[in-house]
Symmetry: D2
Subunit: 348 residues, 4 copies
């Protein structure tokens, strides 16, 4: 069975694991106050050209999103988000469980537009009964999105302008940030993100770490007392240095981006093959997630040898599915998948 | 200035106020454990033909909704609701503030259909990643709806069947229940509601009381420990008997429905006049709220003498507005409003 | 049966009810944006000599406490409170339900001392693991307290100084504020409270209104967006003017304090009689609540004709009870209670 | 610098790390639905002789406590706990942040007694105003406690009986369960815990894993939908198999207990030395945490070469401190610490 079901099926890149082994018996302070975390935070500040940012390390994405939003929002405030956004759909109401509404708006290809933000804000701020509605305060975007698409500099700049118009924070969920920054056609980089976002996180779990996300708090208004809330939400790892060690190893050279590039290359090979065979896609994704719409008869055969995830039936005989590549995807496995697809009489 | 802006602009029907005055200096137990509350609860059980229902009296609608939902839902569960529903739009995230997602779905004319409930449940229960999504547990409907429309027996029975299919509670927000039950074409009554709903509330604030809503908990699973949660959410009125006195006076004879019928009659006169003039409506409302779409030039003139609420611009020159009648609306005021509309050169 | 069980057994003072009747059919804006609320707020600002305070009207005390604290605290912050404090004991965890810890410390006679605040803050702020502990942010006191005792100017000034030392808000729960300000030996008044507190509320429910509490937000940092949170917590009364009408009537002359003085006088007569008979007390209360410790045999006979509340067994044969007087207590009823006590062979 | 500050200063036992390395590139399902988690759960059920228990793996202790309590409690319910309990003191209000009060009662040597549980329940359930107080529903104990002490079978059986009297769940926080079960004088084992507790967790983070806690839900009423709440609270690790791999390695033979025994032996050597020198202790701990009260002058010298944590000043010249041993403590380091203590002129 070859697995393309997600980008978190393996452990960590060998260099990361090796570093954990080398440092295993060192004694350090707990709770992220060790030298590894301090150095990794400094490294990320440098990479982001954000010398005043606060950097915190958390274990997972849902935890990062709910901890950040809980810290950023007052009780009557909420987050605007595309209706495909992870916090709107796939976190079991984690944000609501901290008391806040997720204001979901429909978005093309999994993306939120500045126009959509404006429309929500006009409705929520201009009405006579605005106090009867949740006050928007954070704009949540993910890059790459849940449909594999990415934001351009221009789009993020427009979102930034909308945030400035309405006094909102711009927050970017970077669970797959490496795959976004290495995607075809991407023009965004870490310093740009630090310049347009109030906060964002650099994903590790899906990018070659055992686990871990690095939250970059650029806006000083968001930095105060963050560690209290991190502890309260269960996000302060006792052996916090495990996070520092991993992020330092990943970012001390170009490893994070090398691995991301590899994943995108494999995904592009698959995408090109699928397009060649004439299949259409749920979204035009330039990153490591591909969402082809395939005939059910073909899928039935594929399922014997390949794992992937269903995205819902499109018509009576077709279903959209997701194939993920990752830092760990072997080229020969992609070859095998392409080969199996090509054998389908429905291809071409 | 004649006011049609809402159905809570005056105090209480004189009989209600008179009863409060008569009983004013009596000494009773607090917190709803007095004889007035006990008798009013029994009276409502009789009217609903629901001898085993628990009846609790609360002060306002948002409070009732959030207290009920907080008691009915476990942390991972949410309520399905039309996207125009009060809990989804106009309660400043009160339900989310108790930790629960409101799952809003688009609905025609402010109503939620059994098909929409099925669609949400298929998506939330059937998927492999159902544990990553909020579990639907309550279906929330309002009758009359936020657009003045009403549910039929057939529609509520279909919702009941959907709830049974998916193991959901059916909850009906009756802030304007009297106006719904006296609306043109209505075929629902209190015993029917008690037979199809797990819980519902009989509105008082907008129906001629000073304030107050009567929550009827028909399903015994929802009755346990409710008073604890009522206290916790700030909904247990110290002088609870004020609620019992008012509801008893309103329901000891036909007063509640007399007042509702009056309001609907006045609204129907206005609706007929507007239709005669050729204006269209946001919704085809048979109850006390009317939502005509009127030319801005006409509205500008009307605003000098009449108060009403805006519902949003429809096109470059038209705006939808709401006119409310109530138990307290004077027929001559409706005449005056119709007269002012008829003077418009845009009418007819 | 003569009732001394609480100070919320009757309706409202007749003048208040009369005013509600007079204004009953007036049409006003809803949600506290009417002229009555505006005037009542202005009147209270004048009485408090606090021209920049924001004044909001809520229905009940638990609602006021939880709404205020929810607005004042960030997620990791809590309120310090005497272990007899209402929010710590008798609000079914309403504050915790909004996410915040109540840090209860033992206090003599129901009062919180500046020393106790200092001790909590030293422990919570100085420790290396302060981020693992809730951050104190509000000091909650009630005046009069749950044991009928009152704060002096000196005590409140010391609490203010402690709040300044640790950057805390001082919040005073005035559910029985009139009875405190008219208590024997009191040296506090409304302008003083406005000068030492960041926020406090002036109780109405227990002081002669049908219901209602007036929250005075003196610190501008606490004023922002308060109405959103008021709506979210179910505390924004649709017919808000009912609160404005009542508070205006009560404060347009000296009525509030007249009623309070009456209650305290009756309580002092009872206290003197009990002391004369040789009974001891749970607390030395100068206000409308008295907590004598009485023999069970005496209590058994009293219960036939008098209602009062138990406060717990003190020893094998004695129980502490509470007798409340109020604005509505008739002197002849106090005479009757004293007479019944004097008939006890255990008295004297 | 030799570190005795905590039992989470190193990484993982080498066997655990080795197993993570061996399995690193295997592809498995995510979110704890892999073979490693299934096998580890089965192994723990066997060790606990609890064939019907549900076992879930979480990353840390605060997360485990708040997720469990959030799942077990309805909104008006709370947890009884010793006032030294971790959830009462050192989790930044994590439990309150999910809406629930922690009812802290004073307890000797960090332990909660059945008598204290009875006293809380009598007060909370018997009073007329019980609905105004939080309803106790969970009894929280930790073993070993925050003061290093342990519970006996008799004590836990009495707590179980108290829980049965009042219809409460008994929950045991086993962050240091291995050190408790290997402590001097311990008579408890895993099957006994499974027989008296409704739920408990077997700590990994402080016991030789990189991270991880195994929550055992023995009472079927607590098992329903737990994975939803696990996801919502951010506790569902994407690469869940990391937890299964670690627990399986630790429990496939006697490693967990071997490591615990080692830590306790080292602690007992230190304790004996301190007692021999005449020092007293905050608690009489038979497990891996020791709390001696030492002269400040001695502490000043010790701090140059040894790390440990302060527990608060005891008098003008003495401070209580904590020395932790762990699975990783080297005997020669304990020798060095004892040597340094013996050089003190204050010893003996």
């Amino acid at each position: 069975m070859l697995r393309f079901a997600s980008d978190y099926q393996e452990g960590a890149h060998p260099r990361v694991l090796q570093k954990l082994a080398e440092t295993n018996l060192e004694q350090t302070a707990g709770y992220g106050e060790d030298e590894y975390c301090l150095r990794a935070a400094e490294l990320l500040r440098e990479r982001c050209m954000a010398p005043h940012a606060a950097v915190h390390f958390l274990v997972g994405g849902t935890q990062t999103n709910m901890t950040f939003l809980s810290a950023a929002l007052r009780p009557h405030q909420g987050a605007i988000c595309a209706d495909t956004g992870h916090i709107a759909v796939h976190e079991t109401g984690a944000v609501e469980a901290t008391g806040h509404k997720v204001i979901a708006v429909s978005g093309a290809e999994g993306k939120l537009s500045a126009e959509a933000v404006d429309a929500v804000c006009r409705r929520h701020f201009s009405d006579d009964s605005h106090e009867h509605m949740v006050m928007p305060k954070v704009v949540y975007v993910s890059d790459s999105t849940e449909l594999g698409t990415i934001y351009t500099k221009a789009e993020l700049s427009q979102l930034r302008a909308a945030c400035d118009r309405w006094n909102l924070y711009l927050y970017l969920d970077g669970a797959r940030l490496g795959y976004a920054l290495c995607a075809q056609g991407n023009d965004v980089d870490l310093p740009f993100l630090a310049s347009v976002c109030d906060a964002f996180y650099i994903g590790g779990t899906k990018q070659g770490l055992l686990f871990g996300e690095a939250l970059v708090l650029q806006n000083s208004a968001l930095q105060q007392d963050f560690r209290y809330i991190l502890k309260q939400k269960g996000g302060m790892l006792a052996k916090g240095r495990l996070l520092g060690v991993q992020f330092e190893e990943m970012f001390r050279d170009d490893l994070y981006f090398e691995l991301s590039r590899h994943a995108v290359e494999q995904a592009m090979r698959l995408k090109a093959a699928l397009a060649r065979m004439g299949f259409s896609f749920l979204s035009d994704s330039p990153s490591n997630q591909q969402f082809p719409i395939l005939p059910d008869s073909l899928l039935e055969r594929l399922r014997k040898d390949f794992a992937f995830s269903d995205q819902g039936r499109v018509d009576a005989t077709h279903t959209a599915v997701r194939f993920c590549t990752s830092w760990a995807t072997r080229p020969e496995d992609v070859d095998a998948l392409i080969g199996a697809l090509e054998q389908s009489p429905l291809a071409f």
